[in-house]
């Protein structure tokens, strides 16, 4: 199970966490939970989807804790988005886009990363996040709209 799925899980977790240490921690935790709960797996979804759903849950919970801890330490207004440690002051599109993705609401960001970055289908995203594929499509559409707005000045260049 580990050999078959670890690459896909790690890629997704890293994309969401943006940090090697955290990505490793969350991936490990996801597999430990999956091993513990394997006996409860009833085959209602593909094994890969089931593991990804555990990984996404672990990662989102972990990132929320990180965000809360940061907010406590430096105050809400000054808290940088998660995974934004390397942004520069004078950003090009790549950096601006990275920052804009970081700034998306959690649900939009998760769907955007899964679909547009990692290439999951809406059916897979729906099964992983426990939502309907239509919800995934709607969230992706809103995520893209927000990114377009955030990066509108690049369209005029």
């Amino acid at each position: 199970m580990y050999d078959a799925h670890v690459d896909r899980v790690f890629r997704l977790v890293f994309r969401m966490a943006g940090d090697l240490d955290r990505a490793q921690d969350y991936t490990q935790e996801a597999f430990i939970r999956a091993f513990e709960r394997l006996k409860d797996f009833r085959g209602e979804a593909a094994l890969s989807t089931w593991i990804c759903s555990i990984a996404v849950s672990v990662t989102l919970n972990g990132l929320r804790r990180v965000r809360r801890a940061r907010e406590r330490e430096i105050g809400l207004d000054d808290a940088p988005p998660i995974g934004s440690g390397t942004h520069q002051a004078d950003p090009d599109l790549k950096v601006r886009l990275s920052r804009a993705i970081d700034d998306l609401p959690e649900g939009y960001r998760t769907v955007f990363v899964m679909h547009d970055v990692e290439g999951y289908t809406h059916e897979e995203i729906g099964a992983t996040l426990g939502v309907r594929p239509g919800t995934s499509k709607a969230q992706l559409s809103r995520a893209r709209a927000k990114l377009r707005t955030a990066l509108a000045d690049f369209a005029r260049k």
């Binding site: 690459d7 490793q24 490990q28 430990i32 513990e36 929320r64």
Partner: protein, 214 residues
């Protein structure tokens, strides 16, 4: 429109670079997983399933420990000197007190271990945190009784009881609708201090199912 299309293309290309993952550190993660699993016998098949996934039996069991705890309290209370010769009774009393303390401690730690194992599983599956909180309060009361007992001299056991107290206190303070982050933090607290693995080291197998495991 043209601008939008062009921006979408640029977004798509740029998104591929977002948090671009390095090569998967397969071996390092696998070794870490193995280490965690070796220190966490709860993943052994059957171990967790052997316990019913409800809190109520643990609340009852915790109450039973409380009774044992009260017993310790009685044993550890200083009685006025009797007329019998001190030479004959002196070595006997501390031994009795120590044995009673050990019995109660093993029973308590065994129940705490089972409770935390169930609680950890419940955090993942969405259990009844109010019942968990009530059970934690009862276990906390027993825990304090054991910590306060003059018979509790063993440093390792005291440290474990102190760490356990922190975890039980956190669970006992859970609201009826705790945020998943709170639950996760408690769960991490359990793992960070190795509380569960230490409990499992101390508690002999089957200690929770019978009295007098020592």
């Amino acid at each position: 429109m043209h601008d939008d299309d062009e921006l979408d293309d640029r977004l798509k290309r740029g998104a591929a670079e977002y948090h671009k993952p390095p090569e998967t550190p397969r071996e390092a993660m696998w070794e870490a997983i193995q280490r965690r699993r070796q220190g966490e016998p709860s993943s052994e098949p059957g171990r967790v399933l052997a316990f019913p996934r409800r809190w109520v039996p643990w609340a009852a069991a915790a109450a039973a420990v409380l009774a044992v705890g009260i017993g310790i309290g009685r044993l550890t209370v200083s009685h006025p000197p009797k007329a019998t010769p001190a030479v004959a009774s002196a070595p006997e009393a501390p031994r009795k007190r120590e044995t009673a303390y050990q019995l109660a401690t093993v029973e308590h730690l065994g129940q705490a271990e089972a409770f935390l194992t169930l609680f950890r599983a419940s955090v993942r599956s969405g259990g009844d945190e109010q019942l968990a909180s009530a059970t934690a309060r009862q276990l906390l009361a027993n825990n304090r009784l054991l910590l306060d007992s003059p018979a509790g001299q063993d440093r390792k056991t005291r440290l474990l009881l102190e760490d356990l107290e922190l975890v039980l206190a956190e669970i006992s303070q859970l609201s009826s609708e705790p945020r998943s982050g709170d639950l996760q933090m408690i769960r991490e607290g359990i793992e960070r201090g190795g509380v569960l693995s230490r409990l499992r080291t101390v508690v002999p197998a089957g200690a929770t199912s019978r009295q007098g495991a020592l």
